[in-house]
């Protein structure tokens, strides 16, 4: 990119999520103005009474602000992981779920719902099993102490299908009146049940994972040259791959454990990023975070405001993401990557 374009795109990518963040807090059946948000935040910081009704401050602080923040983090985590995995696997059609983290998390959530019948342990189980699935994929794809891209993807595919089968098994065993709907809704993804406590807990792996990916993002360029060239260019391929898989998995598992399975973000967001900033991961990874945050906030706003009830997030992201991906494919004629 030329420098003036770089500056403009950078400013847009920083401002856009902020705009979406405050925008979504304003939107909804309970009217909230921008001024209300700032007055509430000011009140929260200083303790001075802003003169706002307690309903307004509750809607902002307890409901919309955590949800908007959660959405932004989930989108950023999935966008960055998708970008990282696409470079790592040298494949533009890969998304953050390629090593089975989503399938594993889905199984963990379903297991928690069936075993304990409570929502409290669901995120924890989802997180643990999401990570476990990736570890299993990694070792399934590791042959003779090395793991080629193909064997890793193969390992991921196998583990994904095993966990999908296990999810089906749990659904079959689940109580049809309470547990089955709970599992089904969890798998569709939603930010509706966002609690402030969850936000902070899930924040830890997401922030750690994203920080790691940001720090290592230039290595993604080198790794995308293939193992042989990356090694002769001077990096330890196995160690760098493992670290990036670890960070991307932390971020994705952190996201999925609170949002459920939300597809498409890790696949299309990096492509939108590629069109905006090019393929250098130095720019692409942060751009994918910004765009992912915007996309999830946008979709989640539709989820909660289009109808009287809540539409699951995974449905909206797929309904918007699918056609958009076809549009991208037609526009670039499948060649631009």
């Amino acid at each position: 990119m030329s420098s003036p374009k770089k500056t403009i795109v950078t400013i847009i990518l920083i401002l856009l999520p902020v705009l979406f963040f405050f925008g979504t807090i304003c939107i909804g059946r309970y009217y909230v103005s921008l001024t209300d948000i700032f007055l509430t935040l000011w009140q929260g910081l200083t303790g001075n009474n802003s003169g706002l009704s307690s309903e307004t401050t509750t809607v902002i602080l307890q409901i919309r602000l955590p949800r908007a923040f959660q959405g932004a983090m989930v989108g950023a985590a999935l966008g960055a992981s998708g970008a990282a995995f696409q470079s790592l696997f040298r494949n533009p059609l890969v998304s953050s779920g390629i090593l089975g983290v989503s399938a594993g998390a889905g199984f963990g959530a379903a297991l928690a719902i069936v075993l304990f019948n409570t929502v409290f342990l669901t995120p924890l189980f989802a997180f643990v099993f999401g990570i476990l699935a990736v570890i299993l994929s990694y070792f399934a794809g590791k042959i003779d102490n090395t793991s080629t891209t193909i064997t890793l993807v193969l390992g991921g595919t196998i583990i994904q299908s095993i966990f999908s089968a296990l999810i089906s098994l749990l659904k079959y065993l689940a109580d049809t009146a309470t547990q089955l709907p709970a599992i089904t809704f969890w798998l569709m993804g939603s930010l509706a049940s966002t609690k402030t406590a969850d936000v902070f807990l899930a924040l830890i792996p997401m922030v750690l994972g994203m920080a790691g990916m940001l720090i290592m993002r230039y290595r993604l360029n080198v790794l995308s040259m293939g193992d042989r060239e990356a090694r002769t260019l001077g990096i330890n391929v196995m160690a760098n791959k493992a670290a990036i898989i670890g960070f991307a998995t932390l971020a994705t598992a952190g996201a999925v454990c609170v949002s459920g399975i939300v597809g498409w973000i890790g696949l299309i967001i990096p492509h939108v990023g590629r069109m905006l900033v090019g393929n250098d991961n130095k720019w692409l990874v942060p751009a994918s975070m910004s765009l992912g945050a915007c996309f999830v906030i946008f979709c989640d706003t539709l989820c909660r405001s289009l109808t009287g009830g809540e539409i699951p997030l995974g449905i909206v992201t797929a309904l918007i993401g699918g056609p958009f991906f076809i549009y991208l494919l037609k526009k670039t004629k499948g060649r631009s990557w």
Binding site: S87, P92, Y218, R228, E229, T232, L233, I235, R274, N279
Partner: protein, 269 residues
């Protein structure tokens, strides 16, 4: 002082079936060391060993007096740069993005190359005659241009040894000559040392004629048959023994260029 020395090197993916066996040679500073031989004789596998990609069953490789196995990838990249035989393109990086990757080992921590390293990459592009290509997408280059970009990337490493695996495999005559001219210049002007596997035996004559110190190792069935100057090694008899072909050698005297050449005529029955 030798830059690269192989001592009794043997390797096979299956230890019972060695791809090459008991290979020893030393590469001297400022020479081009060509490895030639029929398809499947073990050239690429031997190069993989020199690159540290496969671990030899027996024998050692020394790079500037240090055992290859003891070099970390970052240190290795300072000594040896590599130009692959083929490169599968994935994402449309710019040419400058690709060439600057040669500085990966010199970046601090996990950082990306800074502006002085980008400048180094621009100089490499200039050296291979691709000035002005910086912002082009490397996925849209021709095969010949891509090969030059990969050579520029290797140059950017500032390593003393450059290993090329069939550097002109997919190139037309014009680009083949460009690569040979670049190699000649790099050896003569920068004192670079080159190890190169090739099927184009006339390239060895080209280098010999250009007064580049050149030696040729003829490989056959995992062993080195002979090592010597191009004129000593590339002979009708050697090609008859190793490639099982009838060939003729001759000397051109066109355009004031006196150079040997070899032409394959037919397979032995």
């Amino acid at each position: 002082m030798t830059l690269l020395r192989l001592n009794n090197l043997s390797f096979g993916y299956d230890p019972q079936r060695l791809i090459f066996e008991d290979i020893s040679f030393a590469v001297h500073p400022g020479e081009v060391f060509c490895i030639i031989g029929p398809n499947g004789c073990g050239k690429t596998t031997l190069i993989d060993s020199i690159l540290g990609i496969n671990q030899p069953q027996q024998g050692t490789i020394e790079v500037s007096g240090t055992h290859l196995a003891q070099l970390k990838p970052r240190e290795f990249a300072q000594h040896i740069a590599y130009v692959p035989q083929s490169h599968s393109k994935t994402f449309p990086y710019t040419v400058l993005d690709i060439v600057v990757m040669g500085r990966t080992y010199a970046t601090r921590g996990f950082g990306s190359p800074d502006s002085s390293q980008q400048q180094r990459a621009r100089e490499s592009l200039d050296q291979v005659g691709l000035k002005g290509f910086e912002e082009r997408l490397y996925t849209e280059l021709s095969g010949g241009e891509l090969q030059l970009v990969l050579i520029a990337r290797a140059l950017t490493q500032d390593a003393r040894i450059m290993v090329l695996d069939e550097p002109t495999a997919h190139l037309d005559f014009r680009h083949e000559l460009m690569v040979m001219e670049i190699i000649t210049r790099l050896v003569k002007e920068k004192g670079l040392t080159i190890v190169m596997a090739t099927h184009f035996l006339n390239q060895a004559f080209y280098l010999e004629n250009a007064a580049v110190p050149t030696r040729v190792a003829l490989m056959n069935q995992g062993k080195i048959e002979t090592i010597g100057t191009p004129s000593e090694v590339i002979t009708k008899n050697n090609l008859k023994d190793v490639f099982k072909i009838i060939s003729i050698t001759g000397t051109t005297d066109e355009e004031g260029i006196q150079r040997k050449f070899i032409v394959p005529l037919k397979n032995l029955r």
